[in-house]
Symmetry: C2
């Protein structure tokens, strides 16, 4: 045996990481279901059967990518949040942390955002649990904004999920050569969200969209 004890964090796990990187790229490009193990074999340079020495199934490949990415993001967020109490500052850190990782690991993030339903059973539960914790952190931050009067009465679930929508949708349009990088992007989105939920004196000009819109066309198609 090459090592007396410990699971050897050397050559073997380094190769697994290499496989996971290539697998993430293939999953991002073709989707989980559309990608074949043979695609990953070709991309990584490891033979088809050789892959099964490191990972026991295609599902586990996806699971490892998702769980590692999510854990890293959550850990970094908690680190950056430590000691910061101002709710607006905490919100900016959440957005920056998310987008910074997002744009530095676009393939992994696309797999995270796009292959939400591809896992099953225990794998799925474990990823869902981490996601729940991440979402919970965001919720707490928003409640903090409310507590100090920087957010108006909004359904917190909708506010937070709208923020995640803004951020996660990026993988469909962002091109590194054209669009702003993480710093500028997270500044813009943080300010958009903070202004968006802010206790505005300059309130909505009218009560609701419904009342004003010409009701004809809208009502006419209610049945379609």
């Amino acid at each position: 045996m090459p090592r007396a004890s410990a699971p050897d964090p050397g050559v073997a796990s380094r190769k697994l990481e290499m496989i996971l990187r290539h697998a993430a790229r293939v999953f991002a490009e073709k989707g989980y279901a559309g990608a074949s193990i043979r695609d990953i074999s070709r991309a990584s340079g490891v033979s088809l059967s050789g892959l099964y020495y490191y990972v026991e199934s295609k599902q586990k490949l996806l699971y490892l990518i998702q769980i590692h990415t999510f854990k890293t993001i959550l850990t970094r967020l908690q680190q950056d949040l430590e000691g910061i109490t101002d709710p607006a500052a905490r919100l900016r850190i959440l957005v920056h942390n998310h987008l910074d990782y997002f744009l530095q690991h676009p393939m992994e993030m696309k797999v995270l955002a796009h292959e939400d339903a591809a896992l099953a059973g225990e794998y799925r539960k474990e990823v869902a649990e981490i996601k729940r914790r991440y979402y919970g952190t965001a919720l707490e931050i928003f409640e903090g904004l409310r507590r100090v009067g920087q957010a108006r009465r909004l359904n917190p679930r909708i506010a937070v999920l709208s923020l995640f929508g803004m951020m996660n949708w990026i993988h469909t349009w962002h091109r590194a050569q054209v669009d702003p990088h993480a710093e500028a992007l997270s500044d813009v989105m943080s300010e958009m969200f903070l202004h968006g939920v802010m206790n505005g004196h300059r309130a909505a000009p009218e009560k609701s969209t419904r009342a004003r819109r010409s009701g004809l066309a809208v009502a006419a198609r209610a049945a379609s």
Copy 2:
């Protein structure tokens, strides 16, 4: 022949529409690549080979769903926008139209949002062209907000794509029994966006996130 002229908008096309509805549901549930023609055959009650009498390929099935959904949304938007000149009102109409259709046809919308890259060749181009027109309309509305001083200097591309992110992400979390319906949801998101891009006197409390955050942890992982 059963009819003398015209492509008979009767039984035949009605069955095609039925097939497309079932196909949309299957694609939404399993993804385009993960769904098989056999799944659609089972769901629609039409035999495997019988499907090919109405649609020539799996790709065309996806294309028909996407093109029909997109055309309907764009047409309705242009109808609702007619005669409305106030930029904020136009923005509210855009959001309401999008979410209203979204929540009334969740399967089709999920296919639209999720299977962006699944089409190829000419099919892809045609769908991309309609999407470009839809995006262009949103851009114009935002420029209108700027013109009347209701939006600050923001990268319009980022502002508009953030709005689409908010709206399109809904398919990952909205549950009709729990969450607000289209009216309330579009009111909330419209106001969030309008406040978010508004010319705020109450500007950002500090210049940028970068300067304030404790640089240590962030800098230390720059290489990872």
